[in-house]
């Protein structure tokens, strides 16, 4: 027997599968027994089968490498041991996410309208003025259903005491959902027997939910609105996902140069039969690049006139331009207040305690305790530009102190959490590795939350950086119904 739970270390950690010496959590019990029953040879076979499946299915992500002189495709790093969550716990998380995204959407709509939240003193006017993601071009626009952030990817982490926190909300162009679906496909190919005996809830209805939501935004009330996914192209790290989602939805995958905006403000795509009207665009290009007339004039990725078309109500954009204003690590610190303000409810999922460097008192605390804290710039994603205090060198800490003093508004800091772990294959043994979870929330006429989400795992021992561009991998995420029934 290759995997012995007795020697798996969980001391001082919250492990998602093992709760004590050789003792699996109830929802993971069957899985752990199954894994225990595998021989070294079988483990290696399953691992190879998964790697092969990834290679042949062409599941890749693209990284930009200066060394190699351009974009290179890497196979998706995948660990064959799934992460398991009990459905009872998940249901609570789901409600918390719905609550959170609802408040965020009301907040965004308010900011581009009356700004009541600022007038009522809940959100500081100064922060809004400084926000790099507030788009004055969007003021006064009324998108369909009043929704701005149609697709949200919120990152959840669990601390060592078992509490689940929201770490951040991604409201611009969150990615990863295709990998969530592909991870499940791989697992079904590699471990069909596990799925026969367990009650694992399916994840693959996401593309059809996404399509329904997008179609519901169409300005033309036609039976089959034309939906397009707008991608920056094959060199984008998430290109695989753009194409995957377009394919799964039966939507067109378009690049900026495929689209044009006419004098009637309608968006059309260039087809072999001439121009064809587009109703809804799921854009995977950042705000600043979508329209050189409205934003960065040098952008070649976007479509000139797209903002004009959107404002005229001739095309729907998801997410709406400007939605990123709430996707900001400084705004993040206010989300619990926003939930109370807009919904008159208490947040169901807590925020990680966050120090806002804009406030002197909190800033002083951060500067003093920098060695214990994780410092994050407000507007970077992918784990770039972060300082992990406890692991940083004194020089790095000094550098960040200088950065914070120079641009306080741009930084927040959080205590260093001990992210929960899950057993991860290292050779043919298992070791604990830290992980997070990114569920996706769709907001349209109804709100939909993915069953689980994308579990990202830091493959390096002790590391908490889970981004695939920086040595992270992923696991299939099982929401397991332990109560039987169907």
């Amino acid at each position: 027997m290759a995997i012995r739970w007795g020697s798996y270390p969980v001391k001082g950690l919250y492990d998602e599968l093992i709760q004590g010496r050789a003792k699996p959590r109830p929802a993971a019990n069957q899985l752990c027994q199954f894994l225990h029953g595998l021989t070294d040879k079988e483990i290696a076979e399953h691992k190879n089968a998964a790697d092969l499946a990834i290679k042949l299915m062409g599941i890749t992500f693209t990284v930009y490498s200066e060394q190699d002189g351009g974009a290179i495709d890497r196979a998706w790093p995948f660990d064959i041991i799934p992460r398991v969550i009990d459905n009872r716990e998940w249901k609570v998380v789901e409600l918390g996410l719905v609550q959170r995204v609802k408040a965020l959407n009301m907040f965004i709509a308010d900011l581009y309208d009356k700004q009541q939240v600022v007038k009522d003193g809940v959100f500081p006017a100064g922060l809004l003025e400084d926000s790099v993601n507030f788009r004055p071009q969007c003021v006064g626009v009324k998108p369909p259903l009043g929704i701005w952030a149609h697709i949200c990817g919120s990152d959840l982490v669990r601390d060592k005491d078992g509490t689940i926190y929201v770490l951040e909300d991604n409201l611009r162009v969150p990615s990863g959902v295709s990998y969530m679906i592909e991870n499940r496909q791989i697992m079904k190919r590699v471990f069909p027997d596990m799925f026969e005996n367990e009650n694992i809830l399916p994840v693959d209805d996401y593309p059809s939910k996404l399509y329904d939501m997008l179609a519901s935004l169409s300005p033309r009330k036609v039976a089959k609105p034309v939906v397009a996914v707008l991608t920056p192209g094959i060199y984008n790290s998430a290109y695989y996902e753009h194409s995957y989602l377009a394919q799964q939805m039966g939507a067109e995958l378009v690049e900026g140069s495929d689209l044009q905006v006419g004098d009637d403000d309608c968006v059309t795509m260039r087809t072999i039969d001439g121009p064809k009207r587009v109703d809804v665009i799921y854009r995977r290009i950042d705000d600043l690049y979508i329209d050189p007339e409205a934003f960065l004039p040098e952008s070649t990725l976007g479509v000139p006139g797209l903002m004009r078309a959107w404002k005229a109500g001739k095309v729907a954009l998801a997410n709406a331009p400007g939605a990123g204003v709430a996707d900001d690590k400084v705004v993040y610190a206010f989300v619990p207040d926003l939930i109370r303000y807009y919904l008159k409810e208490e947040p169901l999922i807590p925020n990680v305690p966050t120090y806002r460097c804009i406030y002197k008192e909190e800033r002083d605390y951060v500067l003093e305790h920098i060695a214990e804290l994780v410092v994050k710039p407000a507007n970077e994603s992918g784990g770039y530009g972060m300082l992990i205090g406890p692991h940083a060198t004194p020089e790095e800490r000094e550098k960040f102190k200088k950065l914070i003093r120079g641009n306080a508004r741009n930084y927040v800091a959080q205590p260093m959490l001990t992210l929960s772990t899950a057993p991860t294959l290292v050779g043919n043994r298992v070791e604990p590795r830290h992980l997070d979870l990114r569920p996706f929330i769709l907001s349209g006429k109804e709100t939909y939350v993915t069953t689980g989400g994308l579990t990202r795992v830091a493959l390096t021992k002790g590391s908490i950086v889970v981004n695939s561009s920086q040595g992270g991998g992923s696991k299939d995420t099982w929401i397991v119904d332990t109560e039987g029934g169907n």
Partner: protein, 307 residues
């Protein structure tokens, strides 16, 4: 359908076909080398002339190094005529249109490239070459089969099919041109066994030997082979057949007048002559005309649908 997508599909069709044709060509030539007496072995240069990258090849000065030649023809990614280059181009095009391809087709294109790349060194040695090239041919046929068997035969599919047939027609003209020039003297009465096997190899490069026998019922002779490869509409690699296929695709599309007219021009150029009766010089001139005609078809497709 997006013009950009149509363009990519068309090139997937062309590149997959090109990879298959090159694999067949190398395979047949390998076998032919073994049959010819040392004195009249043609060397590999004729293949280089066919896949059309003579300059790069000459620069490398590897004419007598079989292993280097194989590397050049099979796996040189700097050389656009190599098998691997064609497969890579097909894969890159497929990557940009993954959303319209059947998933299986993408997986097959991707895995054909991956395995062709990984196994390429095996084919540098004559012992394993046959198996390797067979694998390429089979992979390409699988892709063609999946596309034909699982895609909607709507306009999307028509572009792949047009690309495939245009490439095929083009390759047939190149093979005839280069190989017939190699075959001197073209004297029917001194039908040496070697000339005979060389014409057989032309047919085999185009998988046409068996079908030629069934259709022509004559010995393998220059005159009949040429008639067969130009005009036998029932043979899928004959030029007239390919043109008929392209026309069949074009008529299902809108705005096809320019494309159809360009096809008719090439068809007429073939129908007006008896290729088997042409001298080598005349044949070469005819092929030049046909190749220009095929370029014209390509241009018409591009201008009408990809612009």
């Amino acid at each position: 359908m997006l013009s950009r997508v149509a363009n990519s599909l068309y090139w997937i069709g062309r590149h997959i076909e090109r990879a298959e044709n090159t694999a067949r060509l190398i395979n047949v030539t390998s076998h032919l080398q073994l049959d010819l007496p040392k004195g009249i072995r043609q060397g590999w240069k004729s293949i280089v002339n066919i896949v059309g990258n003579k300059e790069a090849f000459d620069k490398m000065g590897i004419e007598n190094d079989e292993r280097q030649i194989m590397k050049f023809l099979i796996s040189d990614l700097d050389d656009p005529g190599s098998i691997l280059s064609a497969l890579r181009a097909a894969r890159e095009n497929a990557r940009t249109v993954r959303d319209v391809l059947p998933r299986e087709a993408w997986e097959e294109i991707n895995s054909l490239y991956e395995t062709a790349k990984a196994d390429a060194p095996k084919a540098y040695w004559s012992k394993n070459r046959h198996a390797y090239l067979q694998q390429i041919v089979r992979g390409a046929q699988t892709i063609t089969g999946i596309l034909s068997g699982s895609m909607l035969h709507d306009e999307t599919y028509q572009f792949v099919r047009m690309g495939r047939n245009l490439e095929r027609a083009d390759m047939t003209t190149r093979i005839i041109d280069v190989r017939s020039a190699d075959l001197v003297p073209p004297d029917e009465h001194t039908l040496t066994p070697f000339e005979n096997i060389q014409w057989m190899s032309v047919l085999k490069s185009l998988t046409g030997y068996q079908m030629y026998r069934r259709s022509v019922l004559e010995p393998v002779r220059r005159r009949d082979v040429l008639e067969f490869l130009f005009k036998e509409r029932r043979f899928p690699r004959a030029i007239l057949h390919c043109l008929g296929e392209i026309e069949g695709c074009a008529v299902t599309l809108k705005k096809n007048a320019q494309v159809v007219a360009s096809i008719h021009e090439v068809v007429k150029a073939i129908e007006d002559v008896a290729p088997g009766a042409l001298s080598q010089t005349e044949l070469h001139a005819l092929i030049d005309d046909l190749q220009l005609g095929l370029v014209g078809v390509n241009t018409a497709v591009r201008e009408t649908y990809f612009a």
